[in-house]
C-alpha cells in the first residue's frame, strides 16, 4: 500500500536551536496514525513542514506522493488541517469560516457540513469573537471534516472540547477512516483518544522519533508489573536480566520485568510455587512517561 506521508531524517533549525533532529515518520494510506511527544518535541513544526509552510533544512519529506514545499497548493486541495488553537476572524461568523475554508480546498459537502454542525452542537451564526476556545476548535474541525479530502492533519484538535464532544470527535474520526478511507495524522496528548483511534503510533522526543509501531508492539517494548505470593522465599531473581525495582518481603515479591524476559522470570517464580499472581500490562501512561521524562544527563 502506498504511504501518505514519508519522512526520513528530517532536520529543522531555528537559529541556534535544532527543532527537528533526524525525525522519521511513515503514515500508510487509510490508517489513523498517532503522533505523540511532550510539548516542544517538534510535532507542530513537523506538521508545518508537511504543509509546506516551513522548509526542511535536511532529510526527505514526501506527502501524498509530492514535495510539500514545491507542490504546496496542489497537495493542499487533497488535505485538510486543523491547528491546535483555531483562530477566527472576529467579524466573520463560524458558518462563513467553514464555507470559506471548504471552498478554498475545492468544495464543501453541504449535507456533511450540516450533519457535523448538528453533531458537534455548534451555532454557525455566532461571530468569530463570540466563540469560546472549544467552539473555535469545533469550527476548525467541521471545516476540515466537511471537505472531501484524502488526508487529515490534526494538531491536538480536541484541546478545549468537553468530554461529550470528545466522544463525538472519536466517532466521527472512526467513520472517516472506516467509511471514507481517509488517512489521519493525529497529534495528541490525550492517551485514551490515541488508544481508541490510532492504528499505529510514533513517539517523538527532542526532535527525533523514539518509537514507532502498533500499540501492541509498543507494549512489548516496555515492562510488565508483577506481584506474586510464593510458597518459599525466592532467590536468584535479582540476577536475572530484565528485572527491575525488585522488592522481596518474606514470600511476597514485587517486580517490573521487560516484556522480552517475561517468560524466564515466570519460570523462576513458578519454581518457588506460586500461590497468587497479579500481572499488569504497562499502561499507556507508563509507556509515554518513560519517553517523556527528560534524561538528567542531557
Amino acid at each position: 500500500m502506498e504511504n501518505s506521508i514519508e519522512v526520513t531524517g528530517l532536520i529543522k533549525r531555528f537559529g541556534q536551536t535544532t527543532a527537528l533532529d533526524g525525525l522519521d515518520l511513515t503514515v500508510t494510506q487509510g490508517e489513523v496514525h498517532g503522533f505523540l511527544g511532550p510539548n516542544g518535541a517538534g510535532k507542530t513544526t513537523t506538521i508545518r513542514i508537511l504543509l509546506g509552510l516551513q522548509r526542511a533544512d535536511g532529510g526527505t519529506v514526501r506527502l501524498l506522493g509530492g514535495d510539500p514545499w514545491r507542490d504546496a497548493v496542489e497537495l493542499h486541495r487533497r488535505l485538510a488541517y486543523v491547528p491546535g488553537d483555531v483562530t477566527l476572524w472576529p467579524s466573520l461568523s463560524g458558518g462563513e469560516v467553514i464555507d470559506l475554508l471548504g471552498r478554498l480546498r475545492g468544495g464543501v459537502n453541504r449535507a456533511r457540513r450540516d450533519e457535523l454542525l448538528q453533531r458537534f452542537d455548534l451555532d454557525p451564526r455566532k461571530k468569530g469573537r463570540a466563540y469560546s476556545k472549544g467552539n473555535r476548535q469545533k469550527v476548525g474541525l467541521i471545516a476540515a471534516l466537511a471537505s472531501d479530502v484524502e488526508l487529515l492533519l490534526l494538531d491536538e484538535p480536541t484541546s478545549g472540547l468537553d468530554p461529550l464532544m470528545e466522544e463525538v470527535f472519536r466517532q466521527v474520526i472512526a467513520e472517516e477512516t472506516e467509511q471514507r478511507g481517509r488517512t489521519v495524522l493525529l497529534s495528541s496528548h490525550i492517551l485514551s483518544e490515541v488508544e481508541a483511534l490510532c492504528d499505529r503510533v510514533s513517539i517523538i522526543r527532542l526532535g527525533r522519533t523514539v518509537e514507532t509501531g502498533t500499540l501492541t508492539q509498543l507494549r512489548h517494548l516496555t515492562r510488565t508489573s508483577i506481584s506474586a505470593e510464593l510458597s518459599s522465599s525466592p532467590n536468584g531473581l535479582a540476577d536475572l536480566a530484565g528485572v527491575h525495582d525488585l522488592q522481596v518481603h518474606d514470600h511476597t515479591v514485587r517486580l517490573q520485568v521487560d516484556s522480552a524476559q517475561l517468560d524466564t522470570v515466570l519460570r523462576q517464580l513458578t519454581s518457588h510455587g506460586v500461590r497468587s499472581l497479579v500481572s499488569q500490562p504497562p499502561t499507556l501512561e507508563e509507556l509515554f512517561l518513560r519517553h517523556y521524562e527528560t534524561e538528567p544527563s542531557k
Binding site: 509552510l53 504546496a72 497548493v73 496542489e74 488541517y81 491547528p83 467579524s91 470559506l100 455566532k126 461571530k127
Partner: protein
C-alpha cells in the same frame, strides 16, 4: 472591600501598558496651540490684522462648521482658542478610544476576567480607565495653558483654555465608558462612541453655521467646550455644566458596568449568517471583508470631509494671502511662484498624502497581523498559494490609498471650483487640476507601503517598526525639514520631497516614474522573500 478597591493598581497598569503611546499624544496635543500661536503671532501682529484674518476665515461657513462661531475679541489668545478647535475634537476622540481600549477591549480579550478574579472591586476597571484619562487630559490642559502663557496671553484666558481642552478628554472619556458597556465587541463600542462624537460635532456645527439654530450648539456636549470662549469672556460657568454632565455620565457608566455580567453587553450580540454568501469564496473576498471598514473610513474621513475642507478653504486662504505680503512670500518660497490658492492646495494635498501613506502602511501590515494571529496559516494550508494570499491584501494596500486620493482630489476640486464664483465654468476647470495634485502624490504613498511589504517578506518581525519609522521620518522631514534648514540630500530621503507641487507647479515625470519603479522593486523583493520564508513567523 469597597467597589473601588484596586483602582489605583489598575490605573498604574494602564499607565505601564501605554507608557509609549500616552506621552506621545499628550505632548503632541499639548504643544499644538503653542506652535499655532507662535506662528500666528509673527504673521498677524496687531488686533486689526487679526480681526481681518478672523473675518476672512469666518466668511466661510465651512470654517464655522469646523471651528465654531467667530471669537468676539481679536486678541491672539481668542484667535488661537478658535483656530485650534480641531485639537479639542481630537482629544475628545482619544478620550472615547482610550477608555474603550482599557475597558471593553480588555474584557473582550478575556483579561478583565483575570483581573476581576483578583482583589478588585466591581467599579475598579472602569474607574481606573476614567481616572487615567482624566489625569492625561489635565496634563494636556496644563501644557496648553503653559504654552499660551508663554506667548504673553492673559493667564485667566490660558487657564480657561487649558481647562476647556482637558474637559473635552474627560467628558468624552466618560461617554466612551458608557458606550463600552453597550456591546460585547470593542469594535462596535468604538463605532457607537465615534458616532456620538460625530453627531455632537455635526449638531454643534449646524448650530454655529445656521443663524436661527444657535440653540443647537447647546444640545451638543462638544458644543459646551466651544462655549467656554476662552480669552473672549472666559465663560467659567460653562465648566459647571460640563462637570455635572461628566459626573452623570461617569456614574451612569459605573452603574451599567456593575449591573451586567463580565463579558456581556447591554445590547444583544449580533449574529452573522449561518452560511457564507456565494461571493465569499476566495482570498480576495475575505480581504474585502477585512479591509472594507478602514477603506470606508478613509474614503469618508479624508476623501470627503478632508477634500471638502481642503477645497473649501483654499479660496479663503488665497484671499488672506493677498492682504499679507509676508505670508505670501513665505508660502511662495516653499511652493514656487504660482497662485496662492494653488500653493495652499498643493500643500494640503501633500499633507493629506502623508495621512494616506499611514493608511497604506497599515493595510500592508494587515498581512502581518493575520500571520501573527495564525489566521494566515489556516488559509495557506488550503489551495491558496502564498502569492495569491499576499496579492489579496496588496490590492488594498495600493488601490485603497489610490481610491482615497482620487476621492480627496475630486471633492477638493469640486468645492474649490464651486467657491471661486462661476460654478459651471470653474468646476470643470479646477477638478482635473486639483485631482492631478492629489494623484501625483501616489508614487510617494506607494513607496512607503511597498517598503512595508518588502519588510514583511524579508524581516517580518520588524515590518511594523520599520514601516512606521519610515513614515515618521517623512513627517519630520516634510513638516520641519525646511524650517530646520536641513541639507537637500537629507530632505531627499523622503519620497514626498520628490513629488511635484501640483496644482500650479510643473509636472515632471522622472521622479514619479522612479518612485513607481522603486515601488515595484520593493514589492517584488518582499513577495520573493515571503515565498521563501517560513510561515508563520510570530
Amino acid at each position: 472591600m469597597s467597589a473601588f478597591t484596586g483602582t489605583g493598581a489598575l490605573a498604574r497598569l494602564i499607565v505601564r501598558r501605554d507608557r509609549v503611546l500616552l506621552p506621545i499624544w499628550m505632548l503632541l496635543l499639548g504643544i499644538l496651540p503653542l506652535s499655532l500661536a507662535s506662528g500666528t503671532a509673527q504673521l498677524f501682529k496687531t488686533d486689526a490684522e487679526r480681526q481681518g484674518y478672523i473675518d476672512d476665515l469666518g466668511g466661510s461657513p465651512l470654517l464655522l462648521l469646523f471651528y465654531g462661531t467667530k471669537p468676539s475679541d481679536p486678541s491672539l489668545g481668542a484667535l488661537i482658542f478658535w483656530r485650534s478647535a480641531t485639537g479639542i475634537v481630537i482629544l475628545a476622540l482619544i478620550g472615547v478610544l482610550f477608555v474603550i481600549r482599557h475597558t471593553r477591549a480588555e474584557e473582550e480579550a478575556g483579561r478583565r476576567e483575570l483581573i476581576g478574579a483578583g482583589v478588585v472591586g466591581r467599579h475598579a476597571p472602569v474607574a481606573a480607565a476614567l481616572v487615567t484619562m482624566t489625569g492625561a487630559s489635565l496634563i494636556v490642559g496644563a501644557l496648553v495653558a503653559l504654552g499660551m502663557i508663554s506667548q504673553d496671553t492673559p493667564a485667566s484666558g490660558a487657564a480657561a483654555m487649558g481647562i476647556a481642552w482637558a474637559s473635552a478628554g474627560i467628558l468624552f472619556g466618560a461617554i466612551g465608558a458608557i458606550t463600552a458597556q453597550l456591546s460585547e465587541g470593542a469594535g462596535a463600542a468604538r463605532g457607537i462612541g465615534i458616532a456620538i462624537l460625530g453627531a455632537s460635532f455635526g449638531v454643534r456645527g449646524a448650530g454655529d453655521v445656521a443663524g436661527g439654530l444657535s440653540w443647537l450648539s447647546w444640545v451638543s456636549p462638544l458644543g459646551w467646550i466651544y462655549q467656554v470662549h476662552a480669552y473672549a469672556g472666559d465663560h467659567w460657568w460653562v465648566f459647571g455644566l460640563i462637570a455635572v454632565a461628566t459626573a452623570a455620565f461617569a456614574l451612569l457608566s459605573l452603574r451599567l458596568s456593575a449591573r451586567r455580567d463580565v463579558g456581556a453587553g447591554l445590547l444583544p450580540p449580533s449574529l452573522g449568517p449561518a452560511s457564507a454568501a456565494a461571493s465569499l469564496s476566495g482570498p480576495l473576498a475575505l480581504a474585502w471583508r477585512l479591509h472594507r471598514g478602514s477603506l470606508y473610513g478613509w474614503l469618508c474621513g479624508l476623501g470627503i470631509v478632508g477634500g471638502l475642507l481642503f477645497g473649501g478653504v483654499a479660496k479663503a486662504s488665497a484671499d488672506l494671502l493677498a492682504d499679507n505680503e509676508q505670508l505670501k512670500e513665505i508660502l511662495e518660497r516653499i511652493g514656487g511662484a504660482s497662485g496662492a490658492s494653488d500653493v495652499f492646495l498643493a500643500g494640503t494635498l501633500g499633507f493629506g498624502a502623508i495621512a494616506v501613506a499611514a493608511y497604506g502602511i497599515s493595510a500592508a501590515l494587515r498581512m502581518r497581523t493575520e500571520e501573527a494571529a495564525l489566521r494566515s496559516e489556516a488559509l495557506l494550508a488550503t489551495g491558496v498559494s502564498r502569492l495569491r494570499w499576499a496579492a489579496s491584501h496588496l490590492v488594498f494596500a495600493f488601490l485603497g490609498p489610490t481610491a482615497v486620493m482620487l476621492v480627496t482630489g475630486l471633492t477638493a476640486g469640486l468645492f474649490y471650483g464651486a467657491s471661486t464664483g462661476e460654478v459651471g465654468r470653474e468646476v470643470g476647470r479646477e477638478v482635473p487640476r486639483v485631482m492631478a495634485g492629489a494623484l501625483v502624490q501616489l508614487p510617494a504613498i506607494w513607496v512607503l507601503a511597498a517598503l512595508t511589504v518588502a519588510m514583511f517578506g524579508l524581516m517580518p518581525g520588524r515590518a511594523a517598526a520599520i514601516g512606521w519609522a519610515a513614515l515618521s521620518v517623512c513627517v519630520v522631514l516634510g513638516q520641519i525639514g525646511a524650517v530646520l534648514r536641513l541639507s537637500q540630500p537629507l530632505l531627499d530621503v523622503s519620497p514626498f520631497t520628490h513629488i511635484p507641487h501640483v496644482p500650479g507647479g510643473p509636472v515632471t515625470a522622472a521622479p514619479l516614474l522612479t518612485l513607481t519603479a522603486l515601488t515595484v522593486l520593493l514589492v517584488v523583493a518582499g513577495l520573493a522573500g515571503f515565498r521563501r520564508r517560513s510561515v508563520p513567523v510570530t
